[in-house]
């Protein structure tokens, strides 16, 4: 297997392959099912493909990777699925990264969707090509196609053991009608040779030798390096600017203002002043020397501490019910005992190691009209880049050419292409390629932040200690405010991440939302609203266990109730748009991961740890996958927390690349450790108070979990999410462990705000 030198491939490249005699296949999924056609110049133009596979006459198999690689291994995993069904020799596969093109289908590498959306389509595409090659060989030999099998890049006649290589069949295979997906024979799982097996990612050697090209590394001939001074407050703008000193900095070439978004922030720039230079450093120095007078705009009084208090007041009052079962009001009054708690999670920043970066080359004609635009970007969603850049430049979205580089992680930040628009408008203005680099300070100060939230939970418990009523009120600024300034309370897709999808078996349930205005750009961050909502739900379950004097694990299992499926329709849950046939909310599977994580952690044996040590447990269904976490902590007499062990059990259905899944599960525990220990962005006068890793701290090797034990459950269920699935239950399991170790219940994150000296 190899990767192409240039990062991207266009449909045109495939047409070139056609003329050279390759077999080119395109697959398209629609509501009617999946269709595959052989490509001709006409069909490439007329047929919306979402996948290209081509086989050249020398046997080279080209597979297009149309999702972005940001560390999940997807650029390797999806082509592996095609290659498996095709019976291709992995060493003869070339992976080509797609440009942004809506005809390729969904390219938004976000929401833990890639394998879920494309596993089946990739298999069908691979099987289609294999079947055509088998048919071709059968005709050549004058035998039945049923006696011919694609095996490791050649077709074998099983009776005579005659063989013919794929490349030698291509010329004739092109002439065949493409078989209908219903007639294909997919390989049984027992014959999979790549799916479920590990292989180094395609980019491994480049990464290890410094050759890998990320957005920050992408270069265009004659490019300028730009950094921008953006309004310190969202919605602010430039009153006046004096660029004299900036222009006097050696290496600075130009200073250029760019406009702010109009209306809602969406994915358009924050606006500001760009300093363009012959190096990033000169641009940074130039920005230091800029004199800008800002109009701070309408959010200049945003104070996140005060806002958190307001959110607290909001959730102390009845809100808008979004899920109602039974009669919570009466049950709360009638309960033998009641218990309530309020939880708080502050704003968080994505802080991927590579900051947002893009380089654009925009050409204009003599009238200033844009004639072409090429962008190389570290983007999770090249189509979103097209959709944001097109209107900004007054050109058709599909004419914006977006090459996707490797991403130095994304976590949701790089699905929002404001930085690509910045590069594009600067290139248009300066008539040469411009590379925009966000400094770390820019990245943390001007992020699309994770929201700030308060969650109130209240329960009545019966004689058996189990709840008879559960009332949960959530309030936080919504992501929808990015697009609609009037959106002022949690959206249903947000509620569904750990609030309205409450899995516990309780007769009376009411979930309410409260209003919350947005004063910064709110965006989705890996696992999104599960971060705060599962923190609350899984912590409160443990509080009830303690109240009942019960074992936390046993109590949790009782709370989950009988094996059953949640009635998604009755609960009005969208299930992320997934079919409940393929992806039921299966309490049995949730209990299973919980049971299993208790087993592998030795929960029962470790029940009576000495003071200062403790285990915590939590479980969650997120992004259609199921996770159980047990976290072990040691808390020193001075209140220093260490995490010697984490156990995680994941049921994500069929898994294509087990080691890459395992790596993401490990990484989720570490990212969640950072967030729980230190994660907090605060605002004063609308300005973020943190701006680099000294003030927005990260867990490092020394304070990350020492051992992370991961078990992936074998499953033949439809593939679910992975990347975000194992984030949510970590923080509550950690805090439940801290309670067990210290008697201190953490309801407000982060931990470094608390004295954790054991009681």
């Amino acid at each position: 297997m190899s990767t192409t030198e240039s990062s991207s491939v266009s449909r045109r490249d495939f047409l070139a392959g056609l003329s050279a005699g390759s077999l080119v296949l395109m697959a398209k999924a629609s509501s009617a099912g999946l269709t595959v056609t052989g490509a001709t110049p006409e069909t490439v133009e007329s047929f919306d493909p979402d996948l290209f596979v081509s086989i050249e006459s020398d046997g080279t198999v080209n597979i297009v990777a149309h999702r972005s690689e940001m560390g999940t291994g997807i650029r390797t995993s999806l082509p592996r699925v095609v290659a498996d069904e095709l019976e291709a020799d992995w060493d003869r596969v070339v992976i080509q990264q797609a440009i942004g093109d809506k005809r390729l289908g969904d390219q938004n590498t976000d929401g833990s969707n890639s394998i879920r959306f494309f596993f089946k389509r990739m298999r069908v595409a691979g099987a289609t090509a294999r079947t055509m090659l088998e048919q071709t060989a059968a005709e050549k030999w004058g035998v039945s196609a049923s006696e011919c099998r694609g095996r490791n890049h050649e077709v074998v006649h099983t009776k005579s053991n005659r063989k013919i290589g794929y490349g030698d069949l291509v010329a004739d295979a092109r002439e065949l009608d493409v078989p209908k997906p219903g007639t294909l024979k997919l390989k049984p799982a027992s014959e999979w040779k790549y799916i479920g097996k590990d292989v180094p990612v395609a980019d491994m050697d480049d990464i290890l030798t410094g050759k890998a090209v990320y957005g920050i590394d992408s270069r265009m001939e004659n490019q300028l390096f730009a950094v921008l001074a953006r309004p310190p407050v969202v919605g602010g703008s430039v009153k006046s600017v004096n660029a004299d000193k900036a222009l006097a900095v050696p290496g600075v070439v130009a200073v250029e203002q760019i406009p702010r978004f109009k209306g809602a922030p969406s994915f358009q720039p924050l606006g500001g002043v760009a300093v363009c230079a012959n190096s990033t450093w000169a641009a940074i120095q130039g920005r230091e020397a800029l004199e800008v007078d800002w109009d701070l705009g309408p959010n200049a009084d945003y104070d996140s501490e005060k806002f958190a208090e307001q959110l607290g007041a909001t959730v102390s009052q009845p809100g808008t019910p979004v899920r109602k079962q039974g009669d919570v009001g009466s049950a709360l009054k009638a309960g033998a005992r009641t218990h309530s708690a309020d939880y708080f999670v502050p704003h968080l920043s994505h802080a991927p190691m590579e900051t947002p970066c893009a380089v654009a080359d925009v050409k204009t004609d003599s009238t200033g009209k844009v004639t072409s635009c090429v962008i190389n970007a570290a983007t999770q969603n090249p189509q979103a880049v097209q959709q944001a850049v097109g209107p900004a430049l007054g050109m058709k979205n599909e004419d914006v050419i977006v090459n996707v580089t490797l991403l130095g992680a994304g976590f949701g930040r790089k699905s929002k292409p404001d930085y690509c628009v910045e590069a594009a408008v600067l290139s248009r203005a300066l008539k040469r390629p411009v590379h925009v680099t966000w400094t770390r300070e820019d990245d943390i100060r001007h992020d699309y932040f994770h929201t700030i939230s308060r969650i109130h939970v209240e329960a009545a418990v019966g004689e058996d200690g189990l709840p008879t009523a559960w009332l949960q009120r959530v309030s936080y600024p919504t992501i929808m405010s990015l697009f609609n300034p009037r959106a002022g309370s949690p959206a249903s897709f947000e509620q569904e991440m750990g609030a309205s999808d409450l899995p516990y078996d309780i007769p009376n349930v009411q979930i309410e939302t409260g209003p919350a205005a947005s004063h910064v750009r709110i965006g989705w961050l890996r696992s999104v609203c599960h971060i705060q909502q599962n923190f609350a739900v899984c912590s409160f379950a443990d509080e009830l266990a303690v109240l009942a004097g019960a074992d936390s694990y046993q109590y949790l299992m009782n709370l989950l109730g009988d094996d059953r499926e949640l009635d998604m329709k009755a609960l009005k849950l969208s299930n992320r748009g997934a079919s409940t046939d393929d992806y039921p909310y299966d309490i049995g599977r949730l209990k299973n991961v919980t049971r299993r994580v208790a087993e592998i952690s030795g929960w029962k044996e470790k029940r009576d740890l000495p003071k200062g040590r403790g285990l915590g447990i939590a479980c969650c269904r997120a992004f259609l996958g199921y996770t159980g976490h047990v976290v072990e902590v040691e808390v020193s007499p001075e209140g220093e927390v260490s995490i010697p062990n984490v156990w995680v059990v994941l049921d994500a259905g069929v898994i294509v690349s087990p080691d890459r899944v395992k790596a993401q599960v490990e990484g989720a525990a570490i990212m969640a450790t950072s967030q729980a220990r230190y994660g907090e962005i605060t605002f004063t006068n609308g300005v973020a108070n943190q701006d680099n890793f000294d003030t927005y701290r990260m867990a490092k090797m020394a304070d990350a979990p020492l051992n992370i034990h991961v078990e992936l459950l074998k499953s033949d269920a439809a593939p679910a999410g992975v990347g975000e699935t194992t984030v949510p239950s970590f923080a509550p399991a950690l805090c439940n462990a801290i309670y067990a170790a210290t008697g201190k219940r953490i309801r407000n994150l982060p931990l470094n705000r608390h004295d954790l000296t054991p009681e």
Partner: protein
Amino acid sequence: MNTITVNGRQHSVEGVPEDTPLLWVLRDHLGMTGTKYGCGVSECGACTVHLDGESVQSCVTALSEVGEGNVTTIEGLSEDGTHPVQKAWKEHNVPQCGYCQVGQMMMASAMLKKNQNPSDSEIDEEMWNICRCGTYNRIRAAIKTAATEMRNK
């Protein structure tokens, strides 16, 4: 300064202001983009290179401080990607996004030059690089594998 030595070769830096951090000299003036920007303030280690064999953070090392010193970057850590840390990183499938791994490997290789049998706490102390994907446990394992190879050489 007119030249600096990177990976054993002289490179012209004529006209580059002497206060320019080595990071940007490497990346923007010499076109060697293997060394990564992460924070600019020596908090994350992504930009780590070797100066006369010692790990330094190139984001806070001015060109003037490099002087006659020998700079080693990832491009020169080995000829063909076979330094023991590179091999160990591959064996343990360490990288996720891979962005910080260059700095991690430069930090680890400098440490292993001095200490070929590092304890967990010594690794904790030396390896303060940030990885946002969360590869710390594999880095620790890879360092031990590389250390074993280096000891046995």
